[in-house]
Symmetry: C2
Amino acid sequence: MTYCCGILVRDGIVMIGDTRTNAGLDNISTFRKLHLFEEPGKRVMALASAGNLSVSQTVVSLLSEGVVIPETGERRRLADAPTMFEAAQLVGLAVRTVYETDAKLMKDSEINFDVSFLFGGQIEGRRLRLFMIYAAGNFIECTTDTPYLQIGEHKYGKPILDRAVHYESDLYDALKINLISMDSTIRSNLAVGMPIDIAVIRRDALAIELNYRIMPGEPYFTDLRERWSAALREAHIAIPSPPYATSPIETASIPEPIDAAPPRTGAHANAANMQLTAGQPAAKVLQQQNLKP
Amino acid sequence: MTYCCGILVRDGIVMIGDTRTNAGLDNISTFRKLHLFEEPGKRVMALASAGNLSVSQTVVSLLSEGVVIPETGERRRLADAPTMFEAAQLVGLAVRTVYETDAKLMKDSEINFDVSFLFGGQIEGRRLRLFMIYAAGNFIECTTDTPYLQIGEHKYGKPILDRAVHYESDLYDALKINLISMDSTIRSNLAVGMPIDIAVIRRDALAIELNYRIMPGEPYFTDLRERWSAALREAHIAIPSPPYATSPIETASIPEPIDAAPPRTGAHANAANMQLTAGQPAAKVLQQQNLKP
């Protein structure tokens, strides 16, 4: 498994990725999944991968050495792409190229052709853009409405992103939220693990502003994890207890099926009347008699 | 989709379930998934279901009207089970009974036989127990190490449970945490929705202590959602910004492949050296020439 998340805010892109790969729980390794391409002043790109490692590594190598364009037979690299859109198309083409050579025999071995990418960056004179590329080579682009994209084990880390990230968020606040999101994921899924790779690309800088690896025990991330855990504990303690306990009389002696909660709206009251309760010994005996020969 | 969660603490069981069912995003309905069985002073049981609604409803009806025991031909209901373990076995048998009649034709219609249950309660003179029953009719039991079980869309709501619930938690604190877990799930998955059904079973009370339905807009749950969101925002704001920005020099002019993060341990430095960067125009031209006919 993998967790990578890219956030696009007004000031730039923050992309992070874990480094754990696994073939079963008994075969765990560390591989970098966040790849950076930089030609300072001209272009800067970050590519994060999830899915089958052989597929994602081959895609990355093709993008570096050249993907054959079917129409012309020409090879093109990420370094040649004139726009981020064409670069994203090239990533898609690389995925399709690997699919054609590898997918059938992988399927024969009952291995899914499963890969996805986050791909963000900027080319001189063009916009900063962030894409997510699927296993079929098609892709979507991040917009200001939901300024993040995730690949891999996305669910555990999504609630904090949904609540805290906005397009107007500060670039390093976005990094902080991204790390909280990673912490939630690492905590709940063993297949996502340290170290964590970080890339920060500031809009119009046309260079990697930050290329950093957080190792286990790194002080800032350790502190972030402890603060976040403590804050969650305090947050739920600060919420008052449910008041429902104070009205047990409402439900203490319900004569009809107790699956029906106290009716509150007509529409739902009907749907709730589904199930008989226990405690009908006479009917029980009757049923058994009817069934016995 | 569905989200149901049962928590077993020293003082009792809290079980909650959403009520949204969907066949595609364009066909959403409200159905109760939390079913209660009660014979005050003798037995009390809560059964929450996830998966295919026709399967779960048929299982619930069989448990109420009687499941045929293959060995004897006799019918047995939840009301007849002498222990919670035998009751859980009966739920499993009901699942297998429906599997035998329905699974093949469901498969022919490309519908998975997908169902799971949380089943908790107590019978006079016996322990309070909480089980999760799978689609094959097998089951596991909740223990004090991890005092909760989830079915359905379990990931979004798991981080708060992992952090906050303990076997020694107060019964209504467990309900509060369960509701926070439900809130995270509802927020991130449209297929999980209000109203929310709640059951509280206090140990040795042998009766339902609380049977309650939270409707949309209900004041306590609305307040809980707002407080939780505000607390999360405050929590991430209170965490200091990442200090990594202050050392851009480390990475500003890396001559070797920039996929390699600054080496920190020997073991990881090798794994990180995977990918060439852009910016080799001479080599690029050469590659293209070699490939052109």
